[in-house]
C-alpha cells in the first residue's frame, strides 16, 4: 500500500531563518506531488506541484521554493522565513493527472505545523 511521510511534525523557527520540509512517498512510482499551505482558519493554498523529477511548477510567487531530487521525494525550502510563512504545510500525492476535467484522488501527509516567531 502507499504511504506518505512528512517531517518534522512541528517546527518553530525565528524570522529570517532557513526552512527545509521533506515529504516522501512509498509504494508508488512517478506520482504527482504537491505542497499546500493552510493558514489558521483558511482554506488550502497550492504552493507547488511536480509531475516528475526536477519538474516544479509554482502557483504562488513568494520566498519559498521546492525541489524534487528523486521520484518520490519532495522538498519545500526557504532561505529566509517571514512571519507570514506560519501555517500548516501539507504534502500530497496523486496517481497522475487524469483526462481533461477529471481530478485524480489526492492523498495527503500528516502535515507540518510551522510557527515563525
Amino acid at each position: 500500500s502507499q504511504t506518505i511521510h512528512q517531517w518534522p511534525a512541528t517546527l518553530v523557527q525565528p524570522v529570517g531563518s532557513p526552512l527545509s520540509l521533506e515529504c516522501t512517498v512509498e509504494g508508488t512510482s512517478n506520482p504527482n506531488l504537491y505542497w499546500y499551505r493552510q493558514a489558521a482558519g483558511r482554506g488550502l493554498q497550492l504552493l507547488f506541484y511536480s509531475v516528475g523529477i526536477g519538474q516544479i511548477s509554482s502557483e504562488v510567487p513568494q520566498n519559498l521554493s521546492a525541489s524534487r531530487p528523486q521520484d518520490r521525494q519532495f522538498i519545500l525550502s526557504s532561505k529566509k522565513l517571514l512571519l507570514s510563512d506560519s501555517g500548516f504545510y501539507l504534502c500530497a500525492w496523486s496517481g497522475g493527472q487524469g483526462a481533461r476535467g477529471l481530478i485524480y484522488e489526492q492523498y495527503f501527509g500528516p502535515g507540518t505545523r510551522l510557527t515563525v516567531t
Partner: protein, 107 residues
Amino acid sequence: LAKTTQPISMDSYEGQEVNITCSHNNIATNDYITWYQQFPSQGPRFIIQGYKTKVTNEVASLFIPADRKSSTLSLPRVSLSDTAVYYCLVGGYIPTFGRGTSLIVHP
C-alpha cells in the same frame, strides 16, 4: 477553471441528514465534481466524485442536476465525528481547494 461557491458554515445535530450545496455556474463539459473532508490538523480526505446524476458510496451521496451548475453532498445521519470542513472541487488540471464549508454537528 470553474469557480465554486459553498456556504462558509453549517450547523446540524446528531442523527440528521446534512446537505451541502456547491455552486459552479461555469463548469466545463468535461469537468468532474469532487468532494473532500478535512478534520483539524489533518490533510483532506477524498469523499466522493461524480459527473452527473447521483453517486453513492458508503460515506455519502452526491447529487448533480442535469445542468450541472451545482452539486449537493448529502451526509446521512451525521454524528459528532462528521464535524469537519468539506471542500467542493470542480475539474481543473490542478486540484484547487477553496475555503470549504465548516460543518459543526451538535449533540
